[in-house]
């Protein structure tokens, strides 16, 4: 498989996963915001922070209100991680690898991008947002299903799984971070359980379709420690960091010349699974911990690029 093509497939998967996660995040945040009393101010800017694009946001907007944040996260093309940008990039990547993926994959991504582009105005309106984003999520899932069911599980597919799971691990870890720290503008007092924290954590679970799964597997009332543990360390739940990293590893194990990325992935898995969540939250070190995990993920990405994509190494 060509290095250049492998890289595009990897990015295709990452961008589609990114679009889906961003859409999920906004949808669940929207729902929780409607439940909140007027006195508690929810920070939409917190969502922007999750995607690590605050700097670009600040360049373009002064007001950090809902409208601007949602527009930025969904529609703005100068935000490289917005839903529309991600779909556009995904489309470019699948367009240039059409000879490798089932042709329906191109049709799905192409139509999804055209749908998003043509409906973007209602997609960022308060009322049109939910159905719009839900449609995007469903189409992303259709693509995932198509690739799983109709594409040979060869090296190209390994790069799909690699990209998807690494992006997912990245996004989930970001959301844990935000849940822990950034959603509430005022610092919550840990000894005074806030009545609405439960709602927030529920929202984070919902955004990962994890609410039901949490209920079935954790069987306790929603609380910060258990939710973080679930999203970080649960193995059966496919959107948990530990699960995603495990599948990153599985994909990488099937690829040639994989020593370096493999070593880094195992290290990240040890970090994620070995963490004592109780202690991290108690000592107020969860944010630092997530930072380290994010660095791990970034390092894995760099070693993937060096090992399989960099055109200079081969000659």
């Amino acid at each position: 498989m060509l290095s250049r093509v492998a890289e595009r497939i990897y990015w295709l998967a990452r961008y589609v996963e990114r679009a889906e996660n961003t859409a999920r995040m906004i949808n669940s945040f929207q729902l929780v915001s409607l439940d909140m009393p007027k006195t508690i101010e929810l920070s939409w800017k917190g969502l922007v922070a999750v995607t690590g694009t605050d700097a670009i946001f600040d360049e373009h907007y002064q007001r950090e209100d809902e409208r601007n944040c949602v527009k930025f996260l969904v529609a703005d093309l100068y935000n490289p991680s917005s839903v529309l940008s991600s779909l556009k990039s995904a489309r470019e990547n699948v367009r240039t690898t059409r000879d490798l993926v089932p042709s329906e994959a191109w049709e799905i991504v192409n139509e999804m991008y055209l749908y998003a582009r043509d409906n973007i105005d209602s997609g960022i309106s308060k009322r049109g947002r939910y159905p719009f984003l839900t449609e995007i999520i469903q189409r992303c899932q259709t693509l995932t299903g198509l690739l799983a069911g109709c594409m040979s599980h060869d090296a190209a597919y390994d790069f799909v799984r690699l990209g998807r799971n690494l992006e997912r691990a990245d996004m989930t870890s970001r959301q844990i971070d935000v849940g822990a720290i950034r959603f509430l503008k005022r610092d919550p007092d840990p000894d005074d359980p806030q009545p609405y924290n439960g709602l927030l954590w529920t929202s984070i679970l919902r955004s990962q379709s994890g609410f039901q799964m949490y209920r079935q597997h954790v069987k306790r009332r929603i609380n910060g420690v258990d939710v973080v543990r679930f999203l970080l360390q649960d193995i059966p739940f496919p959107r948990a960091v530990a699960h995603s990293l495990r599948y990153v590893q599985e994909a990488v194990e099937r690829l040639p010349r994989n020593e370096m990325p493999l070593r880094l992935i195992m290290q990240a898995r040890r970090h994620a699974q070995g963490a004592d969540v109780d202690e991290l939250i108690h000592d107020d070190r969860l944010h630092d911990f997530i930072d380290t995990l994010q660095l791990d993920i970034a390092e894995i990405h760099v070693s993937i690029v060096d090992t399989w994509f960099s055109l200079d190494q081969a000659a």
């Binding site: 290095s3 093509v5 240039t96 059409r98 049709e107 090296a155 040639p256 055109l311």
Partner: protein, 482 residues
């Protein structure tokens, strides 16, 4: 209101579907009957279905002037163009004959040059040929074939005669649209396919693969074949990707390939370097190899020519094939057929005046308002003059161009290109068209059933090139006896 063929008036042109007094041609009878059973609304609904299918399939064609917008959906007319199988059989034979002679010519030009020694053609034509490559002298590619893939443009004149207008031997494009057109049409008019015998076109990718495999330097069951594209910004990228996909070949860009110290070609893959046996290149000679041709090319692969000369990689079309893709050389094709094959041409050339000959040049300059003048080495309809439609100023500019560089210009009578019913805003109207069949030559020669019909969508226009706003139609070769 449905179409009444008696009121459809293609005159004074030859119509591909409808003959005298609104009577459908026999091969088109089933189609025209079916069309007249549809009312305007139904027709427009079919058109919308086709537009939707095209958008969905992502068929696109770049138009350079449109800047960033690289995926303008490509104009398709849903009404097919029909040719009878009996006519097509003879056209096929004519195309095989023509490409065989052209390949013998190219091989001769780079080796013995018998055609000049026998004075069938003056040698000085070569001296001014933009696409003659010194680097190709003395090479004998497999099967003596240089131009493996040829797209010849055919046009029909008022009296119904088909002519070859030009031969595209460098990197002819359009075959993917031929294949996609058929897929779209099958979705739009399934009923007609059920009731008539329309020859299938979808064997092309398999035939292309087999032809490419036949020029592999390492005979084996699974040669590594790569389609070399200039990249996504090339106007025919869609096609490059499409063909690679249909053949199961790698779609590569220059940066994916490297020529090793052993003069073999390798691709950079996730496993490291892998040897390539055959390259279907969709990149012009000039940009192919900065070592041999244009030093500034960013698209090519350093050393590719070296690898090919040593016979370590098969290349289609072979470098230097473009020498025969020259409108002056074109004028000599009937003579070539006679010289190399001792046969008479089955499909005639359009009568061509060579401006390099003084007498003919005088004639051309005196009749600019009747003639079409073309530069010898341009493709895509660029840089030509359509005399009857040109302004006085344009004609005098062209007169200057011709006097300055007579070798580079030819002129032909303005043909009354045939027309076919085309769905326009106000229903079916006649529009001009041509036909580009594709011929594959390796160990054997295959011709597509039909080809790509290009249609000038604007009323009265004769320009069918997709780069200049033309569209296309599905082309049916109908077997009336089956």
């Amino acid at each position: 209101m449905s179409i009444d063929w008696k009121t459809y008036d293609p005159s004074p042109y030859y119509d591909e579907l409808i003959g005298a007094r609104g009577k459908p041609r026999s091969a088109a009878r089933q189609l025209t009957q079916y069309l007249s059973s549809l009312d305007d609304q139904e027709l427009q609904a079919r058109k919308q279905a086709a537009d939707h299918a095209i958008l969905e399939m992502g068929i696109s064609f770049t138009v350079y002037s449109e800047g960033e917008n690289i995926d303008r959906a490509w104009p398709f007319d849903i009404i097919p163009r029909v040719i009878s199988k009996s006519e097509w059989t003879s056209v096929q034979a004519g195309l095989v004959q023509r490409l065989t002679a052209l390949n013998m010519f190219i091989d001769d030009v780079y080796n013995e040059q018998k055609i000049f020694r026998n004075k069938v053609m003056p040698k000085y034509v070569l001296a001014n040929s933009k696409n003659f490559r010194d680097q190709c002298k003395g090479i004998h590619p497999p099967h003596g074939v240089w131009a493996h893939i040829c797209g010849s443009d055919l046009v029909r004149d008022k009296d119904g005669t088909l002519y070859v207008l030009e031969d595209n031997l460098r990197v002819p494009s359009g075959v993917s649209y031929m294949l996609e057109n058929r897929e779209v049409t099958k979705r739009v008019f399934p009923e007609v396919f059920e009731n008539s015998s329309i020859l299938p076109v979808d064997e092309y990718p398999t035939q292309l693969f087999d032809m490419l495999a036949s020029i592999s330097p390492r005979p084996q069951d699974y040669p590594e074949i790569a389609v070399l594209t200039p990249g996504i910004f090339n106007s025919a990228y869609f096609e490059h990707s499409f063909l690679a996909q249909r053949m199961g070949a790698e779609l590569v860009e220059g940066a994916d390939l490297v020529v090793g110290d052993d003069d073999c070609v390798y691709m950079r893959t996730i496993n490291g370097l892998e040897r390539v046996d055959v390259i279907y290149r969709r990149i012009d000679d000039d940009f192919m190899d900065p070592e041999a041709f244009n030093r500034d090319s960013m698209l090519g692969v350093r050393g590719l020519m070296r690898a090919w000369r040593k016979g370590n990689v098969g290349m289609a079309n072979a470098p230097g094939s473009g020498v025969a893709d020259d409108k002056v050389i074109y004028a000599f094709v009937p003579a070539m057929i006679k010289f190399y094959l001792d046969q008479d041409p089955i499909i005639p050339n359009v009568p061509t005046h060579l401006c390099m000959n003084e007498k003919e040049r005088e004639y051309v300059l005196g009749h600019l308002d009747e003639l079409v003048v073309k530069p010898a080495n341009e493709s895509g309809g660029y840089g030509m003059l359509v005399g009857p439609h040109a302004s006085k100023k344009q004609r005098s500019e062209f007169a200057q161009l011709i006097k300055k560089d007579p070798r580079n210009y030819i002129a032909q009578p303005t043909l009354s290109l045939s027309v076919a019913p085309t769905l326009c805003d106000d229903g079916l109207e006649p529009r001009h068209l041509d036909l580009r069949p594709f011929v594959l030559q390796g160990v054997r020669t295959d011709v597509t059933a039909g080809g790509l019909t290009r249609v000038a969508m604007r009323k009265g226009s004769l320009v069918v090139n997709s780069s200049q706003g033309g569209g296309s139609k599905d082309t049916w070769v109908v077997d009336e006896e089956a």
